[in-house]
Amino acid sequence: MAVAPQQKAPALRRLTRSKGAVLLVVLVAIWVGLPFVPEETGFQFGWVYRVFFTVMALLAGLFFWFLGRERIRTPERPSSVVGSVAAVFLVTVGLLVAVGVVYPQFSVPKAEKAPAQEKQAAERGRELFSNPTVGCFRCHSIAGQGGIRGPDLTQVASRAGSRVPGLTARDYLFEKLKAGSAYDFKVPKYAPIMTPYKALVSEEQLEDLVDYLTTLTGRPTDEVEDSEPGD
């Protein structure tokens, strides 16, 4: 495209054409100007933001430089075209991945740690369940072991979520354990005799019990089976 004569170009165009000068002014403003902005103005950017603005300014400068190119040389041979297309693609994706990797990251638990913690809580719940002081097993059975005064808990995790509208399996189990027979929902066909466990165990222990009960889906692979705490 033909370029209009310089003397007729508007002032804005002339200014934006001198990309190097604009970039230099911006960088000076970022690194020399910004640090001297008085703190009370509320516009004092930290060095991390100044690095961020610098990267943005350099990328913008690069873009505007590229924008000014009328025509770039392109490969002639088909294999070279394939290579150049692949290169554009790989550089694009590579740079995007790099941005994601250099951005501040939060730490993650090691993969083995999460299940260990999960297991610990469920394991503690399991011990509580069979603890004679707590006594869940006296009334409830799991996989054929335990009492029969309360509902069988072999598949409790699969059913508990459907007991009370609006409550998930976990929430229902927690509330039921806490309140016992005082809880509004009673499992049909069972006498309302369940102890309110909030008086017997701590909240953490209640959580452990719930963790254990929510593992009881009744599948053959489970070591135990379940149903739910009832009255």
Partner: protein, 472 residues
């Protein structure tokens, strides 16, 4: 749990990573085979209406690729289902149990869609004189395809926003959950955008390897049409995205906090960067297109100011409120004031500033298009004479689009946190944790590369290998 845990370390990568890869590759193929046929039928209709044979050729050449891609969609879908029913059978069982009728309809629709797709493709020549009938088959194909997508959107949206009383809810209540319509709207538009940009990518490669002036002119035009469809729908996507996000936020503000102020906040900075790059790419292509119009020099003075606004809008969009990785993590050795926006500039990190930036970008993209229209009205388009770097912009844009789709998919899945189905079915697998942006970026990068490797193969078969010698 024991059996599930035993199956988890599949081959060299975890089951979670494997599921991540196959699910996203399947979704990318699905987006292509759903979006491209809409584009194709519109082109075929335009060809008939305007009497321009280029539209017919464009539609037909693209449909050939779609037909091949359809097989890959089915294969990747089978792989997805296989992984889901293996290590994650608990999830599969739950979904089939709760939404059985949805899966049944989905299966039926797949048969209908497949039959219509092959009918549409193989009846192209036999029905050359009965275009209206052929177009009707194409429309039916798109209706079936969209309905298929809606079925799986029901499942996907249920997993993030199940109704509050999910256990007792009817199947329809599970389907018509709080984000069902938002996800449908967003995906429907995005699929067309994706289809347009993919067609532009094919055209770019064909342009660069074309040997004749006629072919160059055709593929230049094809790239322009693909990009045009992509841009026309792209400018609607931020609005659809806001609607979808608002539905999520209204459903549970905890998810909003997790997304915007906690672990996923950096993902949205990345999203802003990607969308800004996308708009820069499409605007760059449009300005290169303007340059090959006779007499368009008079508009050249507008180019840099317009890009100035778009670049400034992009920078405002991605300025983070702070550089905390999440709500609780401190960066060692860095002072608080260095990683948090100063008091008076705090507005730059708020939604208001971001929304204004996006609006400016969209508005000035529209201005670019108006300039193009104006230039076309005043001078002839020299098809085939576009600067070659414009074709590389058409390579750059789909790479960014696919990466963006992968990132947004990850955000949607990670938003459920440690739930397979939010607050209904907990994820207790060993690999569960919110992956940081770096981990996610690597996964999305791998997905993007695998997808384009497959697409290159499909494209090679469809556009190059299957082409008569005189055209190739």
């Amino acid at each position: 749990m024991a059996a599930v845990s035993a199956l988890l370390p599949l081959a060299a990568i975890s089951a979670r990573s494997l599921l991540w890869l196959v699910a996203q590759i399947h979704l990318l193929f699905a987006a292509f085979v759903l979006g491209a046929p809409i584009f194709i039928v519109v082109c075929e209709w335009l060809g008939r209406r305007r009497g321009d044979p280029r539209y017919e050729r464009l539609a037909k050449e693209t449909m050939k690729v779609v037909a091949i891609a359809y097989s890959f969609t089915a294969l990747s879908g089978a792989a997805f289902a296989f992984v889901l029913m293996g290590p994650y059978h608990e999830v599969a069982t739950h979904l089939l149990d709760r939404m059985g009728p949805v899966f049944a309809i989905y299966g039926g629709l797949l048969f209908v869609e497949t039959a219509l797709m092959y009918l549409y493709w193989y009846s192209w020549e036999p029905l050359a004189d009965r275009k209206r009938l052929h177009l009707s088959i194409g429309v039916a194909l798109n209706v079936a395809g969209t309905a298929t997508m809606v079925m799986m959107n029901a499942v996907g949206s249920y997993m993030l926003t199940p109704p509050k009383n999910a256990a007792k809810a009817s199947v329809w209540a599970l389907v018509n959950n709080d984000t069902f319509s938002g996800l449908n709207l967003h995906r429907f538009i995005a699929n067309i955008t994706f289809g347009g940009f993919m067609v532009a990518l094919f055209a770019a490669f064909m342009f660069l390897t074309a040997k004749t002036r006629e072919d160059r002119a055709f593929y230049d035009w094809m790239g322009f049409i693909g990009n045009f469809i992509g841009v026309a729908t792209l400018i609607l996507l931020p609005l659809a995205g806001y609607i979808y996000a608002k539905e999520i936020f209204l459903y549970d503000a905890n998810i909003a906090t997790f997304q915007m102020a906690d672990k996923l906040s950096s993902f949205f900075v990345m999203q802003g960067l990607l969308v800004s790059l996308l708009f820069l790419g499409v605007n760059y292509y449009m300005w290169m297109s303007i340059r090959r119009i006779d007499g368009a020099e008079r508009f050249s003075g507008y180019m840099r100011p317009i890009f100035g606004v778009i670049v400034a809008g992009g920078i405002v969009w991605i300025i983070p409120q702070n550089f905390y990785p999440d709500l609780t993590t401190q960066t060692p050795g860095v002072a608080l004031e260095d990683i948090v926006l100063p008091e008076r500039a705090g507005f730059l990190g708020l939604m208001m500033a971001k929304a204004l930036a996006v609006t400016a970008i969209i508005l000035f993209t529209f201005v670019t298009y108006m300039v193009y229209r104006r230039a076309m009205a005043l001078g002839a388009v020299r098809w085939g004479e576009i600067a070659p770097q414009a074709q590389y912009a058409l390579v750059f844009v789909p790479a960014v689009v696919v990466y963006l789709m992968g990132l947004m998919g990850a955000i949607r899945e990670l938003s459920r946190q440690d739930w397979h189905v939010y607050r209904v079915l907990r994820d207790t697998t060993p690999q569960w944790y919110t992956t940081p942006l770096g981990h996610t970026s690597i996964m999305v990068g791998i997905v993007t590369m695998i997808f384009f490797t497959f697409m290159a193969f499909i494209f090679w078969i469809g556009f190059k290998l299957g082409k008569p010698e005189q055209e190739a």
